[in-house]
């Protein structure tokens, strides 16, 4: 039921950040990203934010030119252990707000040029696929400390 991967993808379908919490080979990742992006980018605003793909359920949301996609297990046998879809949407929003606060109006380029920082933010929020931190201040404090130190 934990988060399996987090992807940030731009409108053209290029991956801008990819964090996997389970092991996939590079080929599997590339194939998965391609399929998911094709599926999600084709959807309209009037359609819901949940897409099923293979054994994943993808919860996604679009912010300006960036798509934030979170993949969780899709358990058909026991749907109640699924991660709460609405909570994932809230989590995505939290990620965006956190990045926004750090980068001041975050855009695609910020994430490209500061990929590690973006990864650190996710590391602070998600550990082993579980959401461990939801306070923006708590997430950003260690990152700011590190930035100062380096």
């Amino acid at each position: 039921m934990a988060i399996r991967f987090i992807l940030l993808v731009n409108k053209q379908g290029q991956t801008r950040l990819a964090q996997y919490y389970e092991y996939l080979t590079l080929e599997e990742r590339r194939a998965l990203e391609g399929e998911i992006v094709r599926k999600c980018l084709a959807r309209t605003e009037q359609q819901c934010s949940f897409v099923e793909h293979r054994n994943y359920k993808i919860v996604y949301r679009r912010y300006a030119s960036l798509f934030f996609l979170v993949g969780v297990d899709n358990d058909e046998v026991c749907p109640s252990v699924l991660l709460n879809e609405l909570a994932i949407l809230e989590f995505i929003h939290l990620v965006v707000e956190t990045m926004d606060r750090h980068f001041r109006n975050v855009c695609e380029l910020d994430i490209m040029f500061h990929l590690e920082t973006a990864h650190f933010m996710l590391e602070e929020m998600v550990m082993n696929g579980c959401i461990v931190e939801t306070s923006k201040t708590n997430i950003l404090t260690p990152i700011q400390l590190m930035d100062k130190a380096s």
Binding site: Q47, C48, C78, S80, L115, E116, M127, V132, M146
Partner: protein
């Protein structure tokens, strides 16, 4: 980000040839990104390969700065451009101990993005550094990095070695509000799941986290338990229920509540008293909470955990109706449908209440919502409403888009087929529904429909007349022949009308339909079926004709003594006989020979052979025609009777369904050695296998030469045939006359209908049905016909595989169960497990596979080892016992067992007991928690 190196080297980013750039003037990551962005389309691969070559050079540099930047670039490329970075694992390890926080950070990010036990063989080398960074004396950010790497790439070995180092981070004494404690809890979860042996060590601290004043710690611990409980057997966590309940009552955080509800969803079905206690807080949350995510989670918990508590279900259903009614939020509509389908058929009243919303959702702009609605409707199908729902869906499939139309057809087909058509009472209706589906312009499910048409023909005797009627309708319509998706259905229709021709009202019409000119559009194998069907029909007509002649002969001889009985027979056969009289003559001159004639030259062997057969039959029939005029000759010629009998017996044997187990029942003939190795025969194959293929291709080629020559002639002929056919069967042709002579100018069978305007589709849909989804008793006007079912193996393939989710880490829940029970005692086993860290043991555990862990207290008295070897191995033994094993194995294991009685542990994991005994052991469920709860 990249510090000084970025600014100093940026001026070199425009250097024409990067290969000339000295590694001293290294490109920074920023430069690389800029270069990638500014490069023209298509140049990326070459740029990437140059960059990787650069990195390979730089990463070996003794200078840590150069190495770090190279690693940073590689991480970027592997993460976003999918390049392989596994070769650099060692270089990442080299940087891990760096005193510079920047380098350490880079190294950890690189490692956590690319390391994995299955691919990274240098992983054990990181053990020491991780331990150092995890120690309380190192700065918290370092520990955080190490925890993250551990949580992403821990191997069982690494987990076993580093588990003790997690303890100080997990304990509340380290520092009251350390940001590391929640992370340590999450990392502990990973450690537990890769290496269940550390459960005795880590479980207690994890439980203590639940009572921490720091909400983050509680959240992480609850998250870990939610993960543990939902990924395996939840039974071992039942004793913690009071603790979870306390957190539920005290905590106000939605994040924590959602995770707690997940745990309770798993625990409630195990313990009825817990479920009863949950009703009040859940109803409270449902009423008060403004967070949709929490409300939805409550609904989910109620539906799957407490379906027996009507008050809670009532409230939750009301919430779901609100979800379904939210016009502006597709997410809520989707989740509402999702939630309803979790309610079993027992609560079909809930679906009935929101029937309109559900049916409307079939026309939702979002295909995912449509699919959910369809899924929900199909869950609610019973034998009482299957007719209404199927008709609704098949009708709606005519209007919807091609993809969804086929999903609708699929749903109907699979639901009705389920368990040898157990839902279907009126097969006449179902057969005509199949015919309707075939006429759907979007239908691409030909194979399934074909299978069912033939299957019903074989299994349900009473449905055959209707089947033949439906088949006739399909065969006679020339528009269907052009659709490649339908040819499978047509093949089934042809087979049915040939096999059960006795139910046909007008066999001759069938022959004409089967030989109509447009059959040339069919693939050869289907044509072969068509021709074979013609053969059967003709054979049938022939024998009927002879019979009729005989009867008329008799009746003319024996006056009219037979009276009523014979006249009925006569009237039945008279039609067929008179048909054949003028039919055969007509057929010979037109369709029959003309269509089949060229086929005998066809290069497809099946078509060729069968066409020849048919022609042979027709030649014989021609002779009979001459007999008709001189009836004396017929009566005298006894040969005719023999031929009739022969032909009749050819097809009179009824075909039945074949059991999937039929092969097993065939006794192996004596002297046949099935186990014999066929490898010795290999030489016969290798020598001969080229010759036949040569000859075949030869003959094919020569054939085609002949064909191309008279292609023009045959097209002219077919055009005239078509015109003739059209004249006679104007009913099935469009009225337009303009291109009558062009054979390929038919209206396509699959011309999509004009899409109905979006606005009125849902209304139409709702109007389509006034049916209810609730099962109710319907009086069936006719009894359900017999459906031939074979042995138990028959239905197997149609059952949905209801494999209960077997946890991959039953071992883990077992270990935790033991850890919980053994909490008080300073057990010796604990020490043993943390000490025994050999590689072999770990592998052993992984191998034990999918044993179902039913950790039970009652011990089997016969097994002394079970008693002596502590609770943990007890569990293992039981887990394995439930696994069925072949007899031979068991004997062997038993012998083994007696031989070496020393290491009890190993043996119990491989020992098997007869099944019955194991079942007896699954008796009492929850005595463990009695004193904990309530």
């Amino acid at each position: 980000m990249a510090g000084g190196s970025s600014s100093s080297s940026s001026s070199f980013s425009t250097a024409p040839a990067p290969s000339l750039v000295d590694s001293l003037f290294q490109r920074s990551l920023d430069d690389l990104i800029k270069a990638l962005r500014s490069q023209p389309a298509g140049a990326e691969p070459s740029l990437l390969s140059r960059a990787v070559a650069e990195i390979r050079r730089e990463i070996r540099s003794p200078d840590p700065d150069t190495k770090a930047v190279a690693l940073q670039k590689l991480t970027y490329l592997s993460s976003l451009h999918g390049l392989d970075a596994s070769w650099a694992a060692f270089h990442a390890l080299e940087l891990l101990p760096s005193p510079s926080p920047l380098h350490k950070r880079l190294a950890y990010v690189a490692a956590s993005l690319s390391f994995h036990p299955s691919t990274t063989d240098v992983l054990p080398l990181s053990t020491h550094q991780l331990r150092k960074d995890l120690s309380p004396s190192s700065p918290p950010p370092f520990s955080s990095l190490a925890l993250h790497l551990l949580s992403l790439s821990a191997s069982p070995d690494l987990a076993l070695h580093l588990a003790p180092d997690l303890l100080p981070l997990l304990s509340p004494r380290s520092s009251p509000s350390s940001p590391l404690r929640p992370k340590a809890a999450a990392a502990a979860l990973r450690t537990l799941s890769v290496c269940p042996d550390v459960a005795p060590l880590l479980f207690k601290p994890l439980v203590d986290c639940l009572s921490s004043p720091d909400l983050r710690v509680v959240s992480a611990a609850v998250g870990a338990f939610a993960e543990l409980a939902s990924s395996g057997d939840p039974t071992p966590y039942l004793p913690l229920a009071p603790e979870f309940y306390r957190v539920l009552a005290e905590s106000g955080s939605n994040w924590i509540l959602i995770k707690l509800l997940k745990i309770f969803t798993r625990l409630a079905p195990l313990e009825p008293r817990l479920a009863a206690r949950l009703v009040d807080p859940l109803c409270d949350l449902l009423r008060r909470s403004s967070a949709q995510s929490l409300v939805f989670e409550c609904v989910r918990t109620v539906f799957s955990g407490l379906p027996d508590h009507d008050r809670a279900v009532r409230l939750a259903v009301d919430k779901v109706r609100e979800f379904l009614a939210s016009a502006d939020d597709p997410n809520l509509r989707y989740l509402g449908l999702r939630a309803l389908s979790m309610l079993g058929p027992r609560h079909s009243w809930a679906v009935e209440e929101s029937r309109e919303a559900v049916i409307r959702s079939l026309a939702d702009p979002d295909p995912n919502i449509r699919r959910e609605a369809l899924h929900l409707i199909m869950v609610m199908v019973f034998d009482s409403n299957v007719v209404e729902i199927s008709v609704l869906l098949v009708n709606y499939a005519m209007k919807s888009d091609p993809i969804f139309a086929n999903e609708l057809l699929d749903a109907v087909l699979t639901t009705c087929r389920r368990n040898v058509y157990e839902l279907i009472v009126d097969f006449d209706w179902y057969v005509s529904l199949l015919g309707e589906m075939a006429r759907n312009p979007h239908c691409t499910r030909g194979e399934e429909i074909e299978r069912q048409i033939v299957d019903i023909g074989l299994r349900v005797r009473d449905a055959r007349p209707e089947l033949v009627r439906v088949a006739r309708g399909l065969l006679i319509d020339p528009a269907l022949l052009g659709n490649p998706f339908l040819c499978r259905i047509l093949s089934a229709a042809a087979w049915v009308s040939g096999e059960y021709v006795e139910f046909s009202r007008n066999p001759l019409e069938l022959v004409e339909a089967l030989l109509q000119p447009r059959t040339s559009l069919l693939p050869p194998l289907v044509r072969a079926v068509y021709i074979q069907a013609v053969f059967k029909v003709l054979a049938f007509c022939f024998s009927t004709y002879i019979d009729q002649l005989e009867i008329s002969q008799l009746s003319s001889l024996g006056n009219s003594t037979t009276g009523g009985a014979s006249s009925i027979v006569e009237s039945n056969t008279a039609a067929a006989a008179s048909c054949i009289a003028d039919g055969i003559a007509g057929m010979e001159s037109t369709d029959g020979i003309a269509t089949v004639g060229p086929l005998s030259e066809n290069d497809e062997v099946e078509v060729h052979g069968r066409a020849r057969n048919l022609l042979g039959l027709i030649h014989m029939l021609r002779e009979i025609l001459t007999w008709k005029t001189e009836e004396q000759g017929f009566i005298k010629d006894n040969r005719i009777g023999e031929i009739v009998n022969l032909l009749q017996s050819m097809f009179s044997e009824e075909l039945g369904p074949v059991s999937v187990n039929a092969q097993n029942r065939v006794p192996v003939p004596e002297g046949l050695v099935l186990e014999e190795n066929l490898a010795d025969l290999a030489w016969t194959l290798t020598e001969d296998d080229t010759a036949p293929s040569m000859s075949i291709s030869f003959s094919l080629r020569s054939h085609q030469h002949g064909k191309t020559k008279d292609a023009a002639a045959s097209s002219v002929r077919s055009a005239s045939l078509l015109a003739e056919h059209r004249k006679r069967h104007g009913l099935y042709y469009l009225p337009t006359e303009k291109d009558e002579t062009e054979s390929n100018d038919y209206p396509r069978a699959n011309d999509p209908l004009l899409p109905a305007s979006q606005g009125d589709v849902p209304e139409d849909l709702v109007k389509l049905t006034k049916q209810s989804l609730i099962p109710r008793k319907v009086k069936h006007t006719k009894p359900r016909p017999v459906v031939i079912k074979l042995d138990e193996g028959d239905g197997v393939s149609t059952f949905p595989s209801t494999t209960v989710k077997e946890s991959k880490d039953d071992l883990l829940s077992g270990a935790i169960h033991d850890a919980l029970l053994g909490e008080g005692k300073p057990s010796s086993s604990q020490k043993r497990y943390s000490d025994k860290s050999s590689r072999g043991r770990v592998k052993d555990i992984a191998d034990t596979g999918e044993s179902v862990s039913q950790s039970k207290e009652n011990l089997e008295s016969g097994n002394r080892e079970h008693r002596s070897s502590g609770s943990k191995s007890k569990h293992r033994g039981h887990g394995k016992e439930r696994h069925r094993s072949p007899q031979k194995n068991e004997e062997k294991e038993e012998k083994n067992h007696r031989n070496s009685a020393r290491s009890s542990h190993h043996h119990e994991r491989h020992k098997h007991r007869p099944r019955g005994e194991a079942l007896l052991n699954v008796a009492p469920r929850a005595p463990v928690i009695q004193h904990f709860l309530l």
